[in-house]
Symmetry: C2
Subunit: 151 residues, 2 copies
């Protein structure tokens, strides 16, 4: 199947430097503020986004060097298929983040609690709305089992 090509529409400006990531430290995004710089040529696409309290960011995890089909998440002691985890070591390293939109200032979006390093390319921004499934019917496999063990 054909290769797919994308061009970043913006970039993450965050307090997490690439060095932080490469030393293997875990990013703790709580109470941090990041800025999404949308490139000026895409600014018209942001119209009315300020009405949303949360947005979805799809970013390219540009520091991922190679993927693995089986990974051990930091939150578990055993391995799982990469598609059953949020590991960055995916065949197509796209991250999905739901973040609070604090303020829109021209082509800059100020957001809370994002866990991406400074310089991460942004592929897409979408309005967030709660997913269809009633949260009480959601099963989260190994994540659930892991959480129950910890309690």
């Amino acid at each position: 199947m054909d290769e797919i090509r994308y061009t970043p529409i913006g970039v993450v400006r965050s307090p997490f430097l690439p060095d932080h990531y490469s030393t293997g430290r875990r990013i703790e995004p709580k109470d941090t503020v990041s800025t999404i710089e949308v490139f000026p040529e895409y600014m018209d696409g942001l119209r009315d986004i300020e009405g949303f309290s949360h947005i979805v960011l799809l970013c390219h995890l540009h520091l991922t060097r190679e993927y693995a089909l089986v990974v051990q998440p930091r939150s578990d002691t055993v391995t799982h298929g990469v598609f059953a985890t949020r590991s960055p070591r995916r065949p197509n390293p796209i991250s999905l983040s739901v973040v609070r939109l604090n303020e829109v200032d021209g082509n800059f979006l100020h957001v809370a609690d994002l866990d991406l390093v400074d310089g991460t390319p942004v592929l897409d921004i979408k309005p967030y709305f709660p997913a269809t499934p009633d949260d009480e019917q959601v099963r989260t496999g190994w994540m659930q089992a892991r959480r129950q063990q910890e309690q």
Copy 2:
């Protein structure tokens, strides 16, 4: 900024033919079943995914010919910036779907209520878990206003 290249990890098999899409009819996914065919070389990445009741699919909307920064969604009578909508006419046409995972059969995932046409390339599969924000604190801008008008 550099171009980003991805290779599909699978393909959507659905009852919606590309012709359906090109004639401008709206896809009504309710009560339909689609299958995600994960290419055999990525099958090991699916291990433990059957424990999740819902999964997130990121797909490449391959029928999108050109993007627009300002669009009028079918669900509204006025225009909005494309990043404040889920329109497919995005600079990087990546779709985000949360779907129910009915069954895993080898490298085939049977899912419910997906609104993508047959042949859509799949970029990534992630486990779904409820997003951090408490749904009651979510504001959904023009979508909310539109819904209130309809009531």
